[in-house]
């Protein structure tokens, strides 16, 4: 594919600061904003650009002037932001649906005409973009002929599973690809320029200044040896927006705007002194510092806890709405996209399979892949319990399989000067789990849920409290007793990439517990492995393969097969699906439920994801800072949460907002 030669000569590209801030394809809108508010950048050209298709131009004048309300207390701001976004959607939803119906086909031609017909040109137009990576195994085509538009002031979400090329697409826009990646074809028109033809030097005047990036993982995306303030100020310094003198105070103001409490102090701190959420705010500050027209947010919150995730997304949305900045939001989470975006682009295997206004895509998906994605997205399927919920409740006198009484686990922190400090990871936790049932432990990172599970399995010794397994106290069991417990209780790990020895064949992995307990001979063990593989729906041919040759979902199936090898009474599942893509998640959850129905195994299911828990658990215990704050049946807990923290967690599930907004009589709801 040859590049169109209609682009301007490179010399025409803005290199000076003034042209960077002002010159753009959206001059039109900027001027309009200025006309109304006289403030230039803060002017909000179009509030909800779902209205681009034939909305009344008058609506553009309903500008809310950006005031300093970003500086008000975090919670208050977030409240406001939430309210705004929901009302915005409610008022404009209808017209958007009507108008955008044409914009459904992912073909270039259609999208192009569509964009041209709109009264406002797209801020970013990607056409026929193909990206490939050169690897030892040959060239991997990560992105194939992708078309994508982002309109000013709009949030466009790119949704897809890992390997779908969504992240690569986002990075290819400003050519922030890994060294072995390259754009093979396509144009990326941003303003008047095709970014694929700019020189590296010219591109640098676009990056940071006109297109900001909010990266994936806040914990590693800030330079660990530089102060937060310096890192924000650097953007201003690079683009000549501040002098050496004015940059520090400007950085503090921007951090403040990004919602970092006590910004002046934080600016002098180093990244490791800030929490993940605060670091992400600092990164948002970096992205908005030069007041760009477009922000590319690459999975901005997937490394954060759900409650933090919501606050951050609310704030990002609030900020961009205020300044009229467009957002390209890359996410694997359909729920997040549903909540935040006006338009959704669904990607799979490097191609765009479907694109259109959010509501259309969610309610009337055209492509089979989108439908599958919708069906498996846990946050959007409000209730599709897989657990055999109707199964008989345990008889009151039945001896519980696992009973944990007042478990406490303290970890000694490396001694500080003098005083030895301890961290109480698990604080007075009592649990009961009956045969054939699933108890879910839910909590955010650091809540002590994994430690609790390890205490139950006796992989860690409790500081105090006791563990009863099938009526017998195993708290201090050693030798034979402990081995008996190992035999009857198994563990499935979060990360299927790390929990299988890379040098073992799948057969060796599955038969390892059998060998450890000297069950059967070689042939019978192999037969058992075959049977187990069949159980977890893997072909017998994988027996001789190595873990590296299997996909994540397949590996997790192998891990489950290993856990079942000794026909245990209890399997502890530690975040068994959180490392997997949603469609694979759904399959694994189905498998777990099926196995429980067949074998009567009990699960202690650990997860941070309430949506997942809802599908599999009979009972749920919510943990926070080492304590269980609420226990109840799944039904009770999800419909009538008693504890504030539970309510907070429930509210933070992405996709909830869309579901409630979609509660309109005339809309079909099968997929919600």
């Amino acid at each position: 594919m040859t590049r169109p030669t209609t682009n301007e000569p490179e010399t025409d590209v803005p290199v000076t600061e003034e042209s960077v801030t002002h010159e753009s394809a959206t001059d039109q809108t900027v001027t309009r904003g200025q006309g109304v508010t006289g403030q230039g950048v803060t002017g909000r050209p179009t509030t909800d650009t779902a209205t681009t298709k034939g909305a009344a131009p008058a609506e553009t004048t309903t500008d809310r002037t950006a005031t300093g309300n970003a500086t008000t207390a975090e919670a208050a701001t977030d409240e406001v932001a939430t309210d705004k976004s929901t009302t915005d959607k409610a008022t404009t939803g209808e017209s958007a649906i009507d108008a955008a119906a044409t914009d459904r086909r992912p073909t270039a031609g259609a999208a192009l005409t569509d964009a041209a017909s709109a009264d406002e040109p797209a801020l970013l137009e990607v056409r026929g973009l193909s990206v490939s990576y050169r690897t030892r195994g040959g060239t991997v085509r990560a992105v194939r002929s992708v078309d994508l538009d982002v309109w000013p002031g709009q949030v466009t979400a790119v949704v897809g599973e890992s390997g779908s090329g969504k992240s690569t697409t986002a990075h290819a826009i400003t050519r922030l690809l890994a060294a072995n990646g390259g754009i093979d074809a396509g144009i990326v028109r941003f303003g008047r320029h095709d970014l694929t033809t700019l020189s590296e030097r010219e591109l640098r005047t676009v990056r940071g200044a006109r297109i900001g990036l909010v990266p994936q993982d806040p914990t590693v995306s800030l330079n660990p040896v530089k102060r937060i303030g310096e890192q924000v100020a650097e953007v201003l310094r690079i683009h000549g927006l501040a002098t050496r003198r004015s940059a520090p105070s400007a950085a503090v103001a921007i951090l403040d705007q990004a919602g970092l409490p006590d910004a002046a102090t934080r600016a002098r701190q180093y990244p490791h002194e800030l929490s993940g959420g605060m670091r992400q705010r600092a990164l948002i500050a970096v992205a908005i510092a030069a007041k760009p027209q477009l922000i590319i947010a690459d999975e901005p919150t997937s490394a954060l806890d759900v409650t933090v995730q919501r606050v951050i997304l609310d704030h990002l949305q609030h900020l961009t709405e205020e300044s009229g900045t467009a957002v390209l939001l890359v996410t694997h989470d359909l729920g997040v996209a549903a909540d935040r975006a006006q338009r959704i682009v669904v990607m799979s295997e490097g191609r765009v399979v479907e694109a259109g206004p959010t509501r259309d895509v969610l309610e009337n998906p055209q492509h089979a892949y989108t439908r599958r994605l919708l069906a498996s997205a846990p946050s959007l399927t409000t209730a599709r319990p897989r657990a055999t919920a109707a199964a008989t409740a345990p008889a009151p006198d039945e001896v519980p399989l696992v009973e944990a009484r007042n478990l406490v686990k303290e970890f000694r922190l490396p001694a500080a000067a003098g005083a030895a400090r301890t961290l109480r990871a698990v604080d007075d936790v009592s649990l009961t789990l009956h045969r054939g049932r699933t108890l879910a432990l839910v909590g955010e990172s650091g809540s002590g849920k994994s430690t609790t599970a390890r205490l139950v399995l006796r992989l860690v010794d409790p500081t105090s409290g006791s563990v009863l397994f099938d009526g017998a106290d195993v708290t201090t069991a050693r030798g034979a007793g402990a081995r008996q417990l190992r035999r009857r209780a198994q563990l499935v790990y979060q990360n299927p990439y790390a929990s299988l020895d890379p040098r073992f064949s799948i057969g060796e992995v599955i038969t390892e517990p059998l060998r450890a307990f000297r069950v059967g001979d070689r042939a019978s063990r192999l037969a058992r492995a075959r049977e187990l593989l069949d159980r977890v729906a893997l072909p017998g041919s994988v027996l001789d393969r190595r873990p590296a040759e299997l996909s994540g979902g397949q590996r997790q199936r192998v891990a489950i097969a290993r856990a079942l090898a000794l026909s245990p009474d209890l399997v502890v599942c530690d975040e068994p699906v959180s490392a997997l893509d949603v469609s694979v998640q759904a399959q694994v959850l189905d498998l777990l439920a099926e196995l429980q129905a067949d074998t009567g195994v009990a699960y202690l299911f650990i997860s941070h994801d309430l949506a997942v828990v809802r599908q599999i658990a009979h009972r749920v215990a919510v943990m926070r800072s080492g304590r269980v704050v609420e226990t109840g049946t799944a039904e009770e807990l999800f419909t009538r949460p008693r504890h504030d923290y539970t309510r907070e967690l429930l509210a933070a599930i992405p996709g909830g907002r869309h579901a409630s907004a979609g509660d309109r009589p005339h809309q079909p709801k099968e997929h919600l």
Binding site: R136, G137, A142, A178, Y493, D501, S551
Partner: protein, 329 residues
């Protein structure tokens, strides 16, 4: 020689994966995989197949694509052949020369020229390979066994055993290895084997540190806990999981150390502590030639090339192994 220490150090701080060249492309590949993992599971030939048996054909192809590596392997093969069958390369007597033919410059009759006694330098270099290689193998073998055991026990047993062993290793590390070797030579006396043992003892620390680091890394791997939690006993965890997975970087270190030991042994023999005079040890050859530096450059330059080529070859092979190992994981 100094390489030993530094490798231990970097292993401690940054892990042993990939040397400079390897990190560039491999890191980029990983980054690419992170951004967009190639569509599952078919199109992922690189890492997937590396773990399985590498056929001789594949191995040959692998070598042919890397001329530097191929040359390195050839050099090492030649050195080994020279050590065991010097007659394959030269028929001239390394110890007795024709005095009339002394100080001939390199040419057809004498590839590397002749020395002050008219001995053929090429023949001396070829025969010298035996002594030098023997000393090097003893040194590396000693360090590998002793250091590896210390590191293995420290890493696997942990607690006070680890503390005691690693403090001891720290002390060994604190004495510059050449000084430690010299002290041992002073105590033990001269000779090829003694020099080799001295060099070996001085490189124990590096092996101990790398082995311990690897054992710790593997021991903390999730799959080891998984194995333990499904009932495997400690010896089976050690033998089936920890050792095979920890061996890679230690073998890489052994290869690197081989090159370092060649240098260390030849340094000591250059200083005059190796085999007694007529024996053609590589370092001794250079030390002898030093007296005729002004008029017979080949006496020092060419044996030095032999040492440099061997060292460079092992270094290159070590890096190839390193890349191999890190990609396998």
């Amino acid at each position: 020689m100094s390489r030993t220490l530094a490798d231990g150090a970097t292993a401690g701080t940054a892990g042993t994966a990939g040397t400079a060249e390897a990190v560039g492309p491999v890191g980029a590949v990983e980054a690419a995989a992170g951004l967009a993992r190639p569509v599952e599971p078919g199109i992922d030939p690189g890492p997937a197949n590396a773990g399985r048996g590498v056929g001789p054909r594949r191995f040959l192809l692998f070598l042919l694509r890397r001329p530097g590596l191929l040359a390195s392997v050839l050099v090492l093969v030649l050195v080994v052949l020279a050590a065991f069958w010097p007659g394959l390369f030269t028929s001239q007597d390394p110890l007795h020369g024709v005095p009339a033919e002394n100080f001939r410059s390199p040419g057809g009759g004498h590839w590397f020229g002749t020395d002050e006694l008219g001995r053929d330098v090429f023949s001396r270099v070829v025969h010298g390979a035996q002594l030098s290689l023997k000393a090097t193998l003893i040194a590396v073998g000693f360090a590998f066994v002793v250091g590896g055991l210390i590191g293995l026990v420290a890493g696997f047993v942990g607690r006070w055993v680890e503390d005691v062993l690693m403090r001891f290793v720290d002390v060994l590390l604190s004495i510059p290895s050449l000084f430690l070797s010299l002290a041992l030579v002073t105590a033990l006396g001269y000779g090829t084997v003694k020099v080799a043992v001295a060099v070996g003892i001085a490189s124990v620390a590096g092996f101990a540190r790398v082995t311990r680091a690897e054992v710790l890394r593997v021991r903390q791997a999730v799959f080891v806990e998984a194995s333990r939690s499904c009932g495997a006993r400690w010896y089976s965890v050690l033998g089936r999981h920890v050792l095979p997975n920890a061996a890679g970087p230690v073998i890489v270190l052994a290869t690197l150390e081989f090159g370092a030991a060649i240098l260390a042994v030849s340094s000591l023999s250059f200083l005059g502590y190796g085999a007694p005079p007529p024996a053609p040890e590589w370092g001794t050859l250079i030390s002898d030639g030093r007296n005729y530096l002004a008029n017979a450059w080949w006496l020092t330059a060419l044996p030095g090339l032999a040492i440099a080529a061997t060292g460079l070859a092992t270094n290159r092979i070590a890096r190839a192994l390193d890349g191999e190992w890190s990609r396998q994981r």
